[in-house]
Symmetry: C2
Subunit: 241 residues, 2 copies
Protein backbone atom coordinates (compact mmCIF):
# COMPACT_ATOMS: atom_id res chain seq x y z
CA UNK A 1 0.00 0.00 0.00
CA UNK A 2 2.79 2.37 0.99
CA UNK A 3 4.81 1.25 -2.01
CA UNK A 4 1.84 2.02 -4.27
CA UNK A 5 1.66 5.51 -2.78
CA UNK A 6 5.39 6.09 -3.27
CA UNK A 7 5.08 4.85 -6.81
CA UNK A 8 2.14 7.18 -7.46
CA UNK A 9 4.13 10.08 -5.96
CA UNK A 10 7.19 9.50 -8.11
CA UNK A 11 4.93 9.04 -11.15
CA UNK A 12 3.28 12.37 -10.33
CA UNK A 13 6.68 14.08 -10.01
CA UNK A 14 7.81 12.59 -13.31
CA UNK A 15 4.61 13.63 -15.08
CA UNK A 16 4.90 17.09 -13.53
CA UNK A 17 8.38 17.52 -15.03
CA UNK A 18 7.23 16.00 -18.35
CA UNK A 19 4.40 18.50 -18.61
CA UNK A 20 6.60 21.49 -17.72
CA UNK A 21 9.13 20.38 -20.31
CA UNK A 22 6.49 19.71 -22.95
CA UNK A 23 5.06 23.19 -22.34
CA UNK A 24 8.48 24.78 -22.83
CA UNK A 25 9.07 22.68 -25.95
CA UNK A 26 5.64 23.61 -27.34
CA UNK A 27 6.52 27.31 -27.35
CA UNK A 28 8.36 27.08 -30.72
CA UNK A 29 5.17 25.69 -32.26
CA UNK A 30 3.14 28.42 -30.58
CA UNK A 31 5.41 31.16 -31.96
CA UNK A 32 5.29 29.52 -35.41
CA UNK A 33 1.47 29.37 -35.37
CA UNK A 34 0.96 32.93 -34.12
CA UNK A 35 3.40 34.20 -36.77
CA UNK A 36 0.90 33.47 -39.55
CA UNK A 37 -1.85 35.94 -38.55
CA UNK A 38 0.81 38.36 -37.30
CA UNK A 39 2.73 38.37 -40.59
CA UNK A 40 -0.53 39.01 -42.42
CA UNK A 41 -1.19 42.11 -40.29
CA UNK A 42 2.44 43.29 -40.36
CA UNK A 43 2.71 43.01 -44.14
CA UNK A 44 -0.52 44.94 -44.72
CA UNK A 45 0.46 47.62 -42.22
CA UNK A 46 3.85 48.07 -43.91
CA UNK A 47 2.15 48.27 -47.31
CA UNK A 48 -0.31 50.90 -46.06
CA UNK A 49 2.59 52.79 -44.48
CA UNK A 50 4.41 52.84 -47.85
CA UNK A 51 1.25 53.90 -49.73
CA UNK A 52 0.33 56.61 -47.25
CA UNK A 53 3.53 57.84 -45.58
CA UNK A 54 1.74 61.04 -44.54
CA UNK A 55 -0.53 58.97 -42.24
CA UNK A 56 1.37 58.58 -38.96
CA UNK A 57 -1.14 55.94 -37.78
CA UNK A 58 0.40 53.33 -40.04
CA UNK A 59 3.91 54.15 -38.95
CA UNK A 60 2.90 53.74 -35.31
CA UNK A 61 1.23 50.42 -36.09
CA UNK A 62 4.29 49.21 -38.00
CA UNK A 63 6.48 50.08 -35.01
CA UNK A 64 4.17 48.27 -32.59
CA UNK A 65 4.14 45.17 -34.77
CA UNK A 66 7.96 45.19 -34.74
CA UNK A 67 7.83 45.21 -30.92
CA UNK A 68 5.45 42.22 -30.97
CA UNK A 69 7.70 40.29 -33.36
CA UNK A 70 10.77 40.96 -31.23
CA UNK A 71 8.93 39.84 -28.04
CA UNK A 72 7.92 36.59 -29.76
CA UNK A 73 11.49 36.03 -30.97
CA UNK A 74 12.67 36.51 -27.39
CA UNK A 75 10.10 33.99 -26.12
CA UNK A 76 11.21 31.45 -28.75
CA UNK A 77 14.91 32.03 -27.94
CA UNK A 78 14.41 31.54 -24.20
CA UNK A 79 12.21 28.45 -24.61
CA UNK A 80 14.71 26.84 -26.98
CA UNK A 81 17.75 27.54 -24.81
CA UNK A 82 16.62 27.69 -21.19
CA UNK A 83 17.09 23.99 -20.45
CA UNK A 84 19.83 23.30 -22.97
CA UNK A 85 22.53 21.23 -21.31
CA UNK A 86 24.47 20.43 -24.46
CA UNK A 87 27.86 21.99 -24.96
CA UNK A 88 27.47 24.52 -27.71
CA UNK A 89 28.69 27.84 -28.99
CA UNK A 90 27.70 30.61 -26.59
CA UNK A 91 27.24 34.23 -27.57
CA UNK A 92 27.24 35.74 -24.07
CA UNK A 93 25.97 39.17 -25.18
CA UNK A 94 23.04 37.57 -27.00
CA UNK A 95 22.34 35.31 -23.99
CA UNK A 96 22.32 38.25 -21.57
CA UNK A 97 20.23 40.52 -23.83
CA UNK A 98 17.62 37.79 -24.22
CA UNK A 99 17.57 36.85 -20.53
CA UNK A 100 17.25 40.53 -19.56
CA UNK A 101 14.44 41.08 -22.07
CA UNK A 102 12.61 38.04 -20.72
CA UNK A 103 13.09 39.32 -17.15
CA UNK A 104 10.68 42.10 -18.17
CA UNK A 105 7.90 39.57 -17.55
CA UNK A 106 8.62 40.42 -13.88
CA UNK A 107 6.53 43.54 -13.13
CA UNK A 108 8.91 44.84 -10.47
CA UNK A 109 11.93 44.57 -12.76
CA UNK A 110 10.02 45.94 -15.75
CA UNK A 111 8.56 49.02 -14.09
CA UNK A 112 10.54 49.90 -10.99
CA UNK A 113 14.16 49.09 -11.73
CA UNK A 114 16.50 51.41 -13.64
CA UNK A 115 18.62 49.39 -16.06
CA UNK A 116 22.12 50.14 -17.18
CA UNK A 117 23.58 47.86 -19.85
CA UNK A 118 26.98 47.95 -21.53
CA UNK A 119 27.70 45.09 -23.90
CA UNK A 120 31.25 44.88 -25.21
CA UNK A 121 30.72 44.91 -28.99
CA UNK A 122 33.51 42.56 -30.04
CA UNK A 123 33.01 39.95 -27.35
CA UNK A 124 34.48 36.55 -28.25
CA UNK A 125 32.24 33.53 -28.44
CA UNK A 126 32.91 30.60 -26.17
CA UNK A 127 31.61 27.05 -25.68
CA UNK A 128 29.59 25.75 -22.77
CA UNK A 129 26.18 24.94 -21.30
CA UNK A 130 23.55 27.63 -21.84
CA UNK A 131 21.77 26.28 -18.75
CA UNK A 132 24.75 26.88 -16.44
CA UNK A 133 25.54 30.44 -17.52
CA UNK A 134 21.91 31.51 -17.68
CA UNK A 135 20.99 29.87 -14.37
CA UNK A 136 23.89 31.54 -12.59
CA UNK A 137 22.74 34.85 -14.06
CA UNK A 138 19.08 34.05 -13.21
CA UNK A 139 19.97 33.35 -9.56
CA UNK A 140 22.04 36.52 -9.24
CA UNK A 141 19.22 38.59 -10.75
CA UNK A 142 16.68 37.06 -8.36
CA UNK A 143 18.93 37.69 -5.38
CA UNK A 144 19.62 41.24 -6.53
CA UNK A 145 15.93 42.01 -7.15
CA UNK A 146 15.24 40.74 -3.63
CA UNK A 147 18.01 42.89 -2.11
CA UNK A 148 16.65 46.05 -3.75
CA UNK A 149 12.95 45.56 -2.89
CA UNK A 150 13.14 48.18 -0.15
CA UNK A 151 15.99 50.42 -1.29
CA UNK A 152 15.19 53.98 -2.29
CA UNK A 153 17.09 53.79 -5.54
CA UNK A 154 16.74 50.64 -7.62
CA UNK A 155 19.38 50.25 -10.31
CA UNK A 156 20.83 47.14 -11.91
CA UNK A 157 23.91 47.37 -14.10
CA UNK A 158 25.08 44.62 -16.43
CA UNK A 159 28.33 44.92 -18.32
CA UNK A 160 30.40 42.55 -20.43
CA UNK A 161 34.11 42.76 -21.17
CA UNK A 162 37.15 40.59 -21.94
CA UNK A 163 40.34 40.13 -19.92
CA UNK A 164 43.10 37.51 -19.84
CA UNK A 165 41.24 35.09 -22.11
CA UNK A 166 38.09 35.37 -19.99
CA UNK A 167 34.67 36.83 -20.72
CA UNK A 168 33.66 38.93 -17.73
CA UNK A 169 30.06 39.61 -16.78
CA UNK A 170 29.84 42.37 -14.18
CA UNK A 171 26.51 42.78 -12.46
CA UNK A 172 25.87 45.30 -9.74
CA UNK A 173 22.83 46.60 -7.96
CA UNK A 174 21.66 48.82 -5.17
CA UNK A 175 21.04 47.03 -1.89
CA UNK A 176 23.60 45.51 0.46
CA UNK A 177 24.37 41.85 1.02
CA UNK A 178 22.40 39.81 3.51
CA UNK A 179 24.13 38.80 6.73
CA UNK A 180 24.46 35.11 7.66
CA UNK A 181 21.71 35.59 10.24
CA UNK A 182 19.34 36.99 7.65
CA UNK A 183 20.23 34.18 5.28
CA UNK A 184 19.26 31.63 7.90
CA UNK A 185 16.02 33.43 8.66
CA UNK A 186 15.15 33.51 4.98
CA UNK A 187 16.00 29.85 4.54
CA UNK A 188 13.46 28.95 7.21
CA UNK A 189 10.66 30.56 5.23
CA UNK A 190 8.86 28.60 2.57
CA UNK A 191 7.29 30.97 0.13
CA UNK A 192 5.68 30.35 -3.24
CA UNK A 193 7.45 31.25 -6.48
CA UNK A 194 4.49 33.19 -7.77
CA UNK A 195 4.52 35.61 -4.88
CA UNK A 196 7.75 35.77 -2.92
CA UNK A 197 9.66 32.64 -3.76
CA UNK A 198 12.84 32.15 -1.86
CA UNK A 199 13.84 28.90 -3.60
CA UNK A 200 16.33 30.14 -6.24
CA UNK A 201 17.69 32.69 -3.79
CA UNK A 202 17.96 30.05 -1.11
CA UNK A 203 19.87 27.73 -3.41
CA UNK A 204 22.11 30.56 -4.39
CA UNK A 205 22.57 31.70 -0.83
CA UNK A 206 23.33 28.23 0.46
CA UNK A 207 25.85 27.56 -2.21
CA UNK A 208 27.33 30.88 -3.15
CA UNK A 209 27.11 33.39 -0.39
CA UNK A 210 28.41 31.26 2.46
CA UNK A 211 31.67 30.82 0.62
CA UNK A 212 31.48 34.04 -1.41
CA UNK A 213 33.09 32.17 -4.29
CA UNK A 214 32.08 29.11 -6.26
CA UNK A 215 33.16 27.46 -9.45
CA UNK A 216 30.32 25.86 -11.45
CA UNK A 217 31.97 24.10 -14.35
CA UNK A 218 34.89 26.38 -15.08
CA UNK A 219 33.17 29.63 -14.27
CA UNK A 220 34.30 31.75 -11.37
CA UNK A 221 31.78 33.85 -9.53
CA UNK A 222 32.93 36.47 -7.06
CA UNK A 223 30.62 38.54 -4.93
CA UNK A 224 31.55 41.73 -3.10
CA UNK A 225 29.20 43.82 -1.07
CA UNK A 226 29.18 47.09 0.82
CA UNK A 227 26.38 48.80 2.64
CA UNK A 228 24.54 50.17 -0.39
CA UNK A 229 25.61 48.08 -3.31
CA UNK A 230 26.36 44.48 -4.27
CA UNK A 231 28.81 43.49 -7.01
CA UNK A 232 28.97 40.15 -8.81
CA UNK A 233 31.50 39.09 -11.39
CA UNK A 234 31.25 35.94 -13.50
CA UNK A 235 34.45 34.97 -15.31
CA UNK A 236 33.96 32.56 -18.21
CA UNK A 237 37.06 31.16 -19.92
CA UNK A 238 37.04 31.65 -23.69
CA UNK A 239 37.05 28.29 -25.44
CA UNK A 240 37.56 28.55 -29.19
CA UNK A 241 35.66 26.23 -31.53
CA UNK B 1 34.12 14.18 -3.16
CA UNK B 2 31.31 11.84 -4.22
CA UNK B 3 28.98 13.60 -1.83
CA UNK B 4 29.87 16.92 -3.43
CA UNK B 5 29.05 15.48 -6.85
CA UNK B 6 25.71 14.12 -5.65
CA UNK B 7 24.96 17.44 -4.06
CA UNK B 8 25.82 19.26 -7.29
CA UNK B 9 23.59 16.84 -9.23
CA UNK B 10 20.59 17.31 -6.98
CA UNK B 11 21.19 21.08 -7.02
CA UNK B 12 21.21 20.96 -10.83
CA UNK B 13 17.96 18.95 -10.88
CA UNK B 14 16.35 21.39 -8.47
CA UNK B 15 17.52 24.41 -10.46
CA UNK B 16 16.31 22.72 -13.67
CA UNK B 17 12.80 22.36 -12.22
CA UNK B 18 12.95 25.90 -10.77
CA UNK B 19 13.79 27.34 -14.16
CA UNK B 20 11.08 25.37 -15.97
CA UNK B 21 8.54 26.49 -13.40
CA UNK B 22 9.70 30.10 -13.49
CA UNK B 23 9.40 30.07 -17.29
CA UNK B 24 5.81 28.77 -17.07
CA UNK B 25 5.01 31.34 -14.38
CA UNK B 26 6.55 34.15 -16.44
CA UNK B 27 4.10 33.54 -19.31
CA UNK B 28 1.34 35.62 -17.67
CA UNK B 29 3.74 38.56 -17.57
CA UNK B 30 4.71 37.92 -21.18
CA UNK B 31 1.07 37.90 -22.32
CA UNK B 32 0.43 41.05 -20.28
CA UNK B 33 3.42 42.86 -21.84
CA UNK B 34 2.66 41.83 -25.42
CA UNK B 35 -0.95 42.93 -24.97
CA UNK B 36 0.07 46.60 -24.92
CA UNK B 37 1.41 46.89 -28.48
CA UNK B 38 -1.21 44.40 -29.67
CA UNK B 39 -4.13 46.37 -28.23
CA UNK B 40 -2.76 49.50 -29.89
CA UNK B 41 -2.81 47.77 -33.29
CA UNK B 42 -6.15 46.04 -32.72
CA UNK B 43 -7.89 49.25 -31.65
CA UNK B 44 -6.60 51.18 -34.66
CA UNK B 45 -7.54 48.38 -37.06
CA UNK B 46 -11.06 48.23 -35.63
CA UNK B 47 -11.38 52.00 -35.93
CA UNK B 48 -10.20 51.93 -39.54
CA UNK B 49 -12.61 49.08 -40.22
CA UNK B 50 -15.50 51.17 -38.84
CA UNK B 51 -14.43 54.24 -40.81
CA UNK B 52 -13.93 52.36 -44.06
CA UNK B 53 -16.21 49.31 -44.03
CA UNK B 54 -15.93 49.07 -47.84
CA UNK B 55 -12.21 48.25 -47.46
CA UNK B 56 -12.02 44.50 -46.88
CA UNK B 57 -8.32 44.79 -45.90
CA UNK B 58 -9.24 46.18 -42.48
CA UNK B 59 -11.83 43.51 -41.86
CA UNK B 60 -9.25 40.82 -42.62
CA UNK B 61 -6.75 42.49 -40.31
CA UNK B 62 -9.34 42.78 -37.54
CA UNK B 63 -10.09 39.05 -37.88
CA UNK B 64 -6.41 38.13 -37.76
CA UNK B 65 -5.87 40.22 -34.65
CA UNK B 66 -8.77 38.37 -32.99
CA UNK B 67 -6.99 35.08 -33.77
CA UNK B 68 -3.78 36.42 -32.19
CA UNK B 69 -5.62 37.54 -29.05
CA UNK B 70 -7.34 34.17 -28.68
CA UNK B 71 -4.01 32.31 -29.10
CA UNK B 72 -2.44 34.48 -26.39
CA UNK B 73 -5.42 33.86 -24.09
CA UNK B 74 -4.96 30.14 -24.67
CA UNK B 75 -1.25 30.38 -23.82
CA UNK B 76 -2.05 32.28 -20.61
CA UNK B 77 -4.77 29.78 -19.63
CA UNK B 78 -2.50 26.77 -20.13
CA UNK B 79 0.46 28.34 -18.32
CA UNK B 80 -1.73 29.30 -15.36
CA UNK B 81 -3.41 25.92 -15.03
CA UNK B 82 -1.03 23.27 -16.33
CA UNK B 83 0.71 22.59 -13.03
CA UNK B 84 -2.16 23.51 -10.75
CA UNK B 85 -2.49 20.87 -8.06
CA UNK B 86 -4.97 22.72 -5.90
CA UNK B 87 -8.49 21.44 -5.67
CA UNK B 88 -10.63 23.91 -7.55
CA UNK B 89 -13.71 24.28 -9.68
CA UNK B 90 -13.21 22.50 -13.01
CA UNK B 91 -15.02 23.39 -16.20
CA UNK B 92 -14.17 20.26 -18.19
CA UNK B 93 -15.35 21.66 -21.55
CA UNK B 94 -13.17 24.75 -21.09
CA UNK B 95 -10.23 22.57 -19.99
CA UNK B 96 -10.52 20.31 -23.05
CA UNK B 97 -11.04 23.16 -25.51
CA UNK B 98 -7.93 24.91 -24.20
CA UNK B 99 -5.81 21.75 -24.08
CA UNK B 100 -6.89 20.86 -27.65
CA UNK B 101 -6.14 24.38 -28.90
CA UNK B 102 -2.70 24.23 -27.28
CA UNK B 103 -2.09 20.81 -28.89
CA UNK B 104 -2.03 22.71 -32.19
CA UNK B 105 1.56 23.64 -31.31
CA UNK B 106 2.22 20.04 -32.43
CA UNK B 107 2.66 20.22 -36.22
CA UNK B 108 1.40 16.69 -36.83
CA UNK B 109 -1.78 17.25 -34.83
CA UNK B 110 -2.30 20.71 -36.31
CA UNK B 111 -1.94 19.80 -39.97
CA UNK B 112 -2.46 16.08 -40.47
CA UNK B 113 -5.16 15.05 -38.01
CA UNK B 114 -8.90 15.47 -38.67
CA UNK B 115 -10.59 16.68 -35.50
CA UNK B 116 -14.10 15.95 -34.40
CA UNK B 117 -15.32 17.68 -31.23
CA UNK B 118 -18.69 17.54 -29.49
CA UNK B 119 -18.90 19.41 -26.22
CA UNK B 120 -22.10 18.86 -24.22
CA UNK B 121 -23.38 22.42 -23.77
CA UNK B 122 -24.87 22.10 -20.27
CA UNK B 123 -22.03 20.12 -18.72
CA UNK B 124 -21.92 20.38 -14.91
CA UNK B 125 -18.88 21.78 -13.20
CA UNK B 126 -16.97 19.61 -10.78
CA UNK B 127 -14.08 19.99 -8.33
CA UNK B 128 -10.62 18.51 -8.62
CA UNK B 129 -7.02 18.91 -9.70
CA UNK B 130 -6.54 20.50 -13.10
CA UNK B 131 -3.18 18.73 -13.30
CA UNK B 132 -4.71 15.24 -12.96
CA UNK B 133 -7.47 15.62 -15.54
CA UNK B 134 -5.30 17.44 -18.03
CA UNK B 135 -2.35 15.07 -17.63
CA UNK B 136 -4.56 12.04 -18.16
CA UNK B 137 -5.91 13.72 -21.30
CA UNK B 138 -2.38 14.76 -22.36
CA UNK B 139 -1.09 11.17 -22.05
CA UNK B 140 -4.03 9.73 -23.98
CA UNK B 141 -3.55 12.30 -26.75
CA UNK B 142 0.17 11.51 -26.99
CA UNK B 143 -0.51 7.78 -27.12
CA UNK B 144 -3.24 8.28 -29.71
CA UNK B 145 -1.09 10.54 -31.89
CA UNK B 146 1.60 7.86 -31.76
CA UNK B 147 -0.87 5.10 -32.71
CA UNK B 148 -2.05 7.02 -35.78
CA UNK B 149 1.36 8.07 -37.12
CA UNK B 150 1.19 5.45 -39.88
CA UNK B 151 -2.55 4.97 -40.38
CA UNK B 152 -4.07 6.04 -43.69
CA UNK B 153 -6.87 8.00 -42.04
CA UNK B 154 -6.03 10.14 -39.03
CA UNK B 155 -9.03 11.26 -37.01
CA UNK B 156 -9.35 12.11 -33.34
CA UNK B 157 -12.78 12.53 -31.76
CA UNK B 158 -13.38 14.14 -28.38
CA UNK B 159 -16.84 14.23 -26.86
CA UNK B 160 -18.20 15.20 -23.46
CA UNK B 161 -21.45 14.06 -21.88
CA UNK B 162 -23.06 13.37 -18.49
CA UNK B 163 -24.36 10.10 -17.07
CA UNK B 164 -25.17 8.84 -13.56
CA UNK B 165 -23.61 11.84 -11.82
CA UNK B 166 -20.42 11.50 -13.87
CA UNK B 167 -18.85 13.68 -16.51
CA UNK B 168 -17.76 11.45 -19.37
CA UNK B 169 -14.93 12.31 -21.73
CA UNK B 170 -14.93 10.01 -24.76
CA UNK B 171 -11.83 10.08 -26.91
CA UNK B 172 -11.35 7.88 -29.92
CA UNK B 173 -8.89 7.73 -32.73
CA UNK B 174 -7.82 5.74 -35.75
CA UNK B 175 -5.05 3.26 -35.08
CA UNK B 176 -5.22 0.03 -33.04
CA UNK B 177 -3.87 -0.59 -29.59
CA UNK B 178 -0.31 -1.74 -29.13
CA UNK B 179 0.26 -5.34 -28.09
CA UNK B 180 2.13 -6.14 -24.86
CA UNK B 181 5.13 -7.09 -26.95
CA UNK B 182 5.14 -3.76 -28.75
CA UNK B 183 4.71 -1.97 -25.45
CA UNK B 184 7.83 -3.65 -24.10
CA UNK B 185 9.79 -2.85 -27.24
CA UNK B 186 8.76 0.78 -27.02
CA UNK B 187 9.64 0.97 -23.35
CA UNK B 188 13.18 -0.10 -24.15
CA UNK B 189 13.69 2.88 -26.41
CA UNK B 190 14.79 6.17 -24.98
CA UNK B 191 13.81 8.94 -27.32
CA UNK B 192 13.85 12.69 -26.87
CA UNK B 193 10.65 14.64 -26.24
CA UNK B 194 11.42 17.09 -29.00
CA UNK B 195 11.53 14.45 -31.68
CA UNK B 196 9.90 11.16 -30.80
CA UNK B 197 9.57 11.12 -27.05
CA UNK B 198 8.20 7.98 -25.58
CA UNK B 199 8.22 9.18 -21.96
CA UNK B 200 4.59 10.22 -21.45
CA UNK B 201 3.43 7.29 -23.53
CA UNK B 202 5.67 4.95 -21.62
CA UNK B 203 4.30 6.17 -18.30
CA UNK B 204 0.80 5.78 -19.61
CA UNK B 205 1.53 2.39 -21.09
CA UNK B 206 3.18 1.10 -17.93
CA UNK B 207 0.37 2.23 -15.75
CA UNK B 208 -2.74 2.15 -17.83
CA UNK B 209 -2.53 -0.31 -20.64
CA UNK B 210 -1.24 -3.31 -18.74
CA UNK B 211 -4.32 -3.26 -16.59
CA UNK B 212 -6.62 -1.56 -19.12
CA UNK B 213 -8.22 0.26 -16.22
CA UNK B 214 -6.85 2.63 -13.62
CA UNK B 215 -8.30 5.00 -11.10
CA UNK B 216 -6.23 8.19 -10.57
CA UNK B 217 -7.90 10.06 -7.76
CA UNK B 218 -11.52 9.16 -8.31
CA UNK B 219 -11.42 9.11 -12.08
CA UNK B 220 -12.01 5.92 -13.99
CA UNK B 221 -10.29 5.41 -17.30
CA UNK B 222 -11.31 2.58 -19.57
CA UNK B 223 -9.59 1.71 -22.82
CA UNK B 224 -11.00 -0.50 -25.57
CA UNK B 225 -9.32 -1.24 -28.80
CA UNK B 226 -10.03 -3.04 -32.05
CA UNK B 227 -7.92 -3.38 -35.15
CA UNK B 228 -8.52 0.10 -36.57
CA UNK B 229 -9.63 2.24 -33.69
CA UNK B 230 -8.91 2.89 -30.04
CA UNK B 231 -11.50 4.17 -27.56
CA UNK B 232 -10.83 5.83 -24.21
CA UNK B 233 -13.38 6.94 -21.67
CA UNK B 234 -12.62 9.06 -18.61
CA UNK B 235 -15.40 9.16 -16.01
CA UNK B 236 -15.16 12.05 -13.55
CA UNK B 237 -17.60 12.13 -10.64
CA UNK B 238 -19.50 15.40 -10.37
CA UNK B 239 -18.69 17.10 -7.07
CA UNK B 240 -20.87 20.12 -6.35
CA UNK B 241 -19.36 23.20 -4.71
Amino acid sequence: MNQQTDHAKSLDAELFQTRLLSFVNAISGFVHNISNPLTLITTRVQLLNLKMPQNSEFEKMANQSKIIVSMLNNLAYISQNIVSTEIKSLNINELLKNELTFFRTDTFFNHEVKKNYQFYPNLSKTKGFYFHVSTLFFCIMHLQLFLMRDTAEKTISVKTSEKDNNILIDISGTGGMLSDKEVNQICLKSINLETEDIKPRQLLINNLIKSHQIIPGNYILTIKSDHDQTYYQIAIPIIHE
